[in-house]
Symmetry: C2
Subunit: 412 residues, 2 copies
């Protein structure tokens, strides 16, 4: 409900909550509301809220504060916890270290099941969502894990090292969160242990945080494909949002003007057959849409791993064939329409064959661009949308007027 | 690796696997590979594989088989399990019933912790990923749950009803999988119990399946926004894929031809100022891109719940303001370019003010269309992409040529 209220009322209601509820609410509201609620908060109150928040979420909150305020808060809270938070804040926000929590249960490998249960009992207040106990050696290095299920099923006097699973999947602190999510998805884990460079256990990422990562990454991809960023949803000001969207818009403006110079270059051709102008929108729209279809499929396939970089040639060939098929169909339709509407067979041939070529090129380019970007380690989602549309506009118009110029000249 | 091989080699390698590994592999390969591997499989072998697969995944496999083959398999396997599978197959594939598994651990509410552990131990072989034991009354109705953690921390003689959490979130069998995923995400659950209409426990959805749903739904949204479906990734044939993409392409072809008739309607205007044609692509491209930006943000916001249907007017007003800001900037730039390039001040005024209006309308329409679709219970993702681009092409050209017509007449 808070999310739907005007800013002042949000703040007022939030002030009335006890610190524990406030901490929970802060995790659930939208990013925009969270920013608004934290903007003018009193330091003692924020301190109490941080105190009630798990370390990964607490670090997220502190990380969003102005540096000076963040320091003030860190100075006030318990020094051990402050140390933990400072450590978490050093990691990139979108890395394993940035999303991990310092709350987990670990047991030494020479402990007995009984002791492991005791250790779990002692930490139970502090650590939520325990699915596994992590087993470490004397150096603190992760050597295995025991699921709670295993613990329930074992005799109290058994050694942890006997019942543990020693083939344990873990991630380094600097792994990108998207890769972490893919591993959790692949291995169907409820929690993923995080280790430092020396293999020592330093944190844990639970599946509920991974679910958030997956949702965020999908939003990020969709926004990038549309030529904006999902960060804009955190802003309320039209000016701020416009400035976020502007870069792609300016590029696409320049692309549009470039398209104009192509038409202007063929001014003579256009002047001798004005009806050519009627088909400019259909040529650009079809190129754009067909390009977006093939690039969206490739971008998403690359993100989910269903498309690899192994068989690029085969994929491009297939997209070219798909384009050829659709281009044939659309070319015949639009060619016939042009012929019947304007009573000009030559116009029909020009429009139809330009459509065929433009669509074939658009489908191939739509698949090629994200694959090339991926190979160059640039996010392929950026390639889609404005970039593909713009390129296809330019190429499509060039084919269209180039063809018109040649055919008109040939027959003149 | 299997995914990257040619079809024949996939089949050959797959044949060599023992049934248990084959069952695991079938869960991990891409949908396309899965279809290929199952196409010509021998019935006795498939039976063995089904036998090694959890019931939700087994039902998915059988659901994809031709009806006759599915019946043959169901007749051969153990009758109790066949009954379970037949039941699962009755549910919609994308509903809670369709993604749930029949493997879960439940205990009667009058049982003691000791008995619950015994029950868990007995089912351990058969049920993977146990995080909670579900507590049922004599009718089989779900009345609470006990986490494994709680079980570990309780005395063996305690009654389950004393330690259970009785505020239990569950979903009905016919709930859409996307809603189920949103609930699991909201409540940070590791598994969600599924109940029938009488409130009886009938299955369980684990978080790893929810992660798959979230990934699938994001792919579905992205493909829909691009005017195709993610199902195409299951096909290898260019003809099949072309036919999947064609509906939107044909609609967008008709839209393009409609755009052409608008230009043709203003043939006289165009004839008297040919340079108007140079700016057709920039008007349509900008309208399209700006419309996609605002609709992508709204579609994604609706999907994640960050945008509600409460404050539609406020959101539209904001998009209109964003459009106005971007339109002002782009209008001034393109107007100046038109003026300086063609040395025609009137052309500059026409192009600039048409750009301003077209962009403002495009931004507002981009947000309006998905909100209206959502209100009408049509998937808003369909609204974005081709539909918004097409409408904005038509509206943009109408504004452009309408304005040119009026201004040229006024000053003639």
């Amino acid at each position: 409900m808070l999310d739907q209220l005007p800013e002042e009322k949000k703040r007022y209601l939030f002030e009335l909550l006890d610190p524990e509820t406030a901490a929970d609410v802060l995790q659930e509201v939208s990013d925009l509301s969270r920013d608004q609620l934290l903007e003018d908060i009193q330091i003692p109150r924020l301190e109490k809220i941080i105190d009630q928040t798990a370390s990964d979420d607490a670090a997220d909150i502190i990380g969003e504060l102005p540096a000076e305020l963040a320091e003030k808060i860190l100075d006030r809270i318990d020094s051990e916890r402050a140390g933990e938070l400072r450590q978490l804040l050093r990691y990139d926000e979108e890395s394993a270290g940035g999303i991990m929590s310092k709350q987990y249960v670990s047991v030494p490998q020479d402990a007995a099941v009984e002791q492991a249960i005791e250790r779990f009992r002692a930490s139970h207040e502090e650590v939520e969502f325990v699915y596994y106990l992590y087993v470490t050696d004397r150096r603190g290095a992760l050597v295995g894990y025991v699921s709670l299920a295993q613990l329930v099923l074992s005799r109290p006097d058994q050694k942890v090292s006997e019942i543990m699973e020693s083939e344990v999947v873990s991630v380094p602190t600097d792994m990108d969160q998207e890769e972490v999510a893919a591993l959790v998805e692949k291995y169907d884990l409820a929690a993923m242990p995080v280790v430092d460079r020396a293999g020592r256990l330093v944190g844990r990422i639970t599946v509920d945080d991974v679910v958030d990562v997956i949702v965020d990454e999908a939003s990020e991809d969709i926004s990038k494909m549309a030529g904006t960023t999902d960060k804009e949803i955190r802003h309320d000001s039209a000016l701020r949002i416009a400035s976020i969207r502007l870069p792609w818009i300016v590029i696409s403006l320049l692309g549009g003007i470039l398209s104009g110079t192509i038409i202007s270059h063929f001014k003579g051709t256009l002047g001798s057959l004005l009806a050519l102008a009627f088909f400019i929108p259909v040529i650009t729209a079809m190129g754009g849409n067909i390009g977006i279809q093939s690039s969206a499929i490739v971008v998403r396939g690359l993100a989910t791993g269903e498309i690899g970089l192994f068989d690029i040639a085969r994929r491009l060939l297939r997209e070219a064939r798909i384009g050829l098929l659709m281009g044939l169909m659309c070319g015949v339709i639009v060619g016939l329409v042009a012929f019947l509407w304007q009573g000009n067979a030559l116009l029909g041939v020009i429009v139809g064959s330009a459509m065929l070529s433009a669509i074939t090129v658009a489908a191939t380019m739509g698949a090629l661009v994200p694959l090339v970007f991926k190979k160059l380690n640039i996010d392929p989602a950026i390639a889609t949308g404005p970039f593909v549309t713009m390129s296809n506009d330019i190429v499509g118009l060039f084919i269209y007027f180039g063809l018109a110029f040649m055919l008109l000249r040939l027959l003149a």
